[in-house]
C-alpha cells in the first residue's frame, strides 16, 4: 500500500476510519507529540486556487494538514431537479453548464443516454463529428488543466497564458461551428445540430497538425523543470486500490496505474475504429496525473488525425429523429462516455411522458473530489492546492 509514510510526514497514524473495511483510506493523523497548537484555516470559498466557490476546511499543524473537510454546494443550481421538470430537448443546453469547459462531452453523454432510452440511431457522420468534438474538448480541458495546475504551483501566469492561447483556438473552432464558445449545445438525439463545413474541417486539421508542436514547447517549459518535479512528485499519492474503490475515473484513475478507459472498455461511438493507446501512471501522484494528461493529449491528436481522415459524408442528423416533444416509452437508460475528467454519465428514467421522472448525473469531478482528504493528509497547504488542481474539478459539475 502506498500510504504516506508516517515517519516521513512527521505525523503518526491514530485511528482507522469508520466504515473503511478494506483499510484503504488514509488514516487521520495526529499532530506530532507536543507540537504547536493546531490552526484551523478555511481555504475558500473565495480563494484563487479552489477553482471556483469551493472550500477546504483545513486543520494545520504548522503547515501540515491534519484534517481536511471539503465543503461544497455553493454553486448548486438544482440541475437534476430541473432536468426532471424540463423536456428531453430542453435539458440539452443545461448540460453545457455542468462542466462548462467540456460542453461537447456533456452533450454527448446526455444525447447517448436519451438515444439509448428512446432507441434512436445515430448517423455515421455524426458519430465521427462527435469524436472530433469530444477529442478537441479533451485537448482543451487537459491544456487548461495543465495551465491551472502550474498556476497553483506558483507560476506567474506563463503556462496558463500559453494554455489559454491554444484554448482560444479550439474555442474559435467551437464558436464557428456552434455559435458559442463554451455553451455549445451541439448534440441532438440521433446526431448533431450542425454540420461542419469543409472550411471548418480544414481549420481543425490545421489546429491538430500544430498542436504537437505546442505540446512540445509546453513540456519543455514544465515537464522537465526541476521545481515542477520537486513540487509534484510524491505529492498526493492515490493508491490504485483506493482509486478503484472510491470510484475514481478518468486520467486520475489511469495515473494510479489502472488502465480503464471507457473508449476502450465500452467502445462507444466509433472509437473501436481508431488506433490509440491509453497511457497509465505508476505512482498516482500529482506529476503522474499531469503527465498522463499530457500523454493523453498526444493520443487525442492521433484520434483526431484518423477521425478527420475517415470522416464520411451523409446526413449529420436523421430528419426523422424526433427532438421536440420526445416521449420515450417507460424505461431507464444510463449513457456514459469517457469525458476529459472521467466517466460522465446520465441516468434517465422515463414514465412515457415528455419529461424524465428521474434525471441523475454521474459527475466525474464530484466523484474524483471525494478522495481529496485522503490525498492531502500529511501534506502542506501548498500541496493541498496543487492536489486539488490535479484532481481537475469544475464546480459547475461538482455542485450541479
Amino acid at each position: 500500500m502506498m500510504l504516506p509514510d508516517p515517519a516521513a510526514t512527521g505525523l503518526a497514524r491514530v485511528r482507522k476510519i469508520e466504515g473503511d473495511a478494506l483499510g484503504l483510506r488514509t488514516p487521520a493523523f495526529a499532530p506530532t507529540e507536543g507540537a504547536g497548537d493546531l490552526l484551523e484555516v478555511s481555504l475558500g470559498p473565495h480563494h484563487p486556487s479552489t477553482h471556483g466557490v469551493f472550500r477546504m476546511d483545513v486543520v494545520l499543524d504548522g503547515e501540515r494538514i491534519v484534517r481536511l473537510k471539503p465543503v461544497f454546494g455553493y454553486l448548486h443550481r438544482n440541475h437534476e431537479k430541473l432536468g426532471e421538470a424540463t423536456s428531453y430537448l430542453g435539458s440539452m443546453p443545461y448540460t453545457d453548464r455542468l462542466d462548462y469547459l467540456n460542453s461537447m462531452t456533456n452533450n454527448w453523454a446526455y444525447a447517448l443516454a436519451v438515444e439509448k432510452l428512446a432507441g434512436i440511431p445515430v448517423t455515421e457522420r455524426a458519430e465521427y463529428v462527435r469524436v472530433v468534438l469530444a477529442e478537441l474538448s479533451r485537448l482543451l480541458n487537459h491544456t487548461c488543466l495543465a495551465g491551472f495546475l502550474m498556476q497553483d504551483c506558483g507560476c506567474s501566469g506563463t503556462p496558463l497564458m500559453y494554455a489559454f492561447r491554444e484554448r482560444e483556438k479550439i474555442l474559435d473552432l467551437f464558436e464557428s461551428l456552434s455559435g458559442s464558445r463554451m455553451m455549445c449545445n451541439v448534440q441532438r438525439f440521433g446526431g448533431c445540430r450542425v454540420d461542419p463545413s469543409a472550411e471548418w474541417l480544414a481549420a481543425t486539421r490545421r489546429l491538430v497538425d500544430g498542436y504537437g508542436a505546442f505540446l512540445d514547447e509546453f513540456e519543455a517549459l514544465l515537464s522537465g523543470n526541476e521545481i515542477v518535479m520537486a513540487r509534484t512528485q510524491g505529492v498526493g499519492r492515490l493508491p490504485a486500490a483506493l482509486a478503484v474503490n472510491a470510484g475514481i475515473t478518468g486520467p486520475m484513475l489511469r495515473a494510479s496505474g489502472v488502465g480503464h478507459d471507457l473508449r476502450k472498455v465500452d467502445g462507444y461511438g466509433v472509437y473501436p475504429r481508431f488506433n490509440f493507446r491509453v497511457p497509465i501512471g505508476r505512482d498516482g501522484d500529482v506529476y503522474d496525473r499531469y503527465m498522463v494528461r499530457m500523454l493523453e493529449m498526444r493520443e487525442s491528436i492521433a484520434i483526431l488525425d484518423q477521425a478527420l481522415r475517415d470522416l464520411p459524408g451523409g446526413p449529420i442528423l436523421d430528419p426523422k429523429a424526433k427532438q421536440r416533444g420526445l416521449r420515450p416509452k417507460a424505461g431507464e437508460a444510463y449513457g456514459r462516455i469517457e469525458g476529459p475528467k472521467g466517466e460522465i454519465g446520465f441516468f434517465l428514467v422515463s414514465d412515457g411522458t415528455g419529461n424524465p421522472t428521474r434525471y441523475r448525473v454521474r459527475a466525474p469531478s464530484f466523484v474524483n473530489l471525494t478522495v481529496l482528504e485522503d490525498l492531502c493528509l500529511g501534506h502542506t497547504v501548498a500541496d493541498a492546492v496543487i492536489i486539488l488542481g490535479s484532481i481537475d474539478i469544475v464546480l459547475g459539475e461538482v455542485d450541479r
Partner: protein, 168 residues
C-alpha cells in the same frame, strides 16, 4: 559628544524598559530589537563601526528572528498575552534588582574614573590582523562553539520521530 551619546542612550534604554514591562510577547520581542538597534547606534557613535554592524546583523538578523520564531512555534495564533507576574515574584525580583542597581550606581558615583581623551578608532585592517594573529585560536574556538550550537539547537528543536506505525 556627550549630548549625542545621551540621546542615543535614551533611545536604547526606553525600548528596553518598555520591552520588560509590556504584556504582549511579540511587542516585547520587537522592543528588544529596537533596544539592540539603539545600542548599535550607540556603538557607532563610540567609533566602533565594525562592532556596531556586527551587533545589528547578529541581533536584528539572528537573535530576534530566532526569538520570534520560538514565540510563534510555542504559541501560534494566540494573542500572545502573558499573565502578569505574581506579586511575590515581583516583590522579590524588584528587591534583588534594586540591590544590584544601587550597588552599580554607588560604584559609578564614587568611582574616580579619569576622563580620558578618546583613543583613535582601530582601522578595520588592524582588527583583521588582530583576529587572524593573536586571537586566531579564539576565533577558531568561537567557530567551533557556533557549529556545536547550531547542531545542538537542531537536535533539540527537531521533532522526535514518532513510533513507526503506531496504531492506537
Amino acid at each position: 559628544m556627550t549630548t549625542l551619546l545621551a540621546v542615543l542612550a535614551l533611545i536604547c534604554l526606553a525600548p528596553a524598559v518598555a520591552a520588560v514591562l509590556v504584556r504582549n510577547l511579540i511587542h516585547s520581542a520587537l522592543l528588544f530589537v529596537l533596544a539592540w538597534l539603539g545600542l548599535a547606534a550607540f556603538y557607532l557613535a563610540l567609533g566602533a563601526e565594525f562592532v556596531a554592524f556586527a551587533q545589528a546583523l547578529v541581533y536584528v538578523g539572528g537573535v530576534s528572528m530566532v526569538a520570534l520564531f520560538a514565540v510563534l512555534l510555542t504559541r501560534p495564533g494566540r494573542t500572545d498575552l502573558l499573565p502578569p507576574p505574581s506579586a511575590a515574584r515581583a516583590v522579590g525580583g524588584l528587591a534583588a534588582v534594586s540591590l544590584v542597581a544601587s550597588m552599580l550606581a554607588s560604584s559609578l558615583f564614587w568611582s574616580r574614573l579619569p576622563s580620558m581623551e578618546p583613543t583613535a578608532p582601530i582601522p578595520l585592517r588592524r582588527l583583521g590582523e588582530l583576529l587572524a594573529g593573536p586571537y586566531l585560536v579564539a576565533v577558531l574556538l568561537v567557530g567551533l562553539i557556533l557549529t556545536v550550537a547550531l547542531i545542538g539547537g537542531l537536535l533539540l528543536a527537531a521533532p522526535r520521530r514518532p513510533a513507526e506505525g503506531a496504531d492506537a
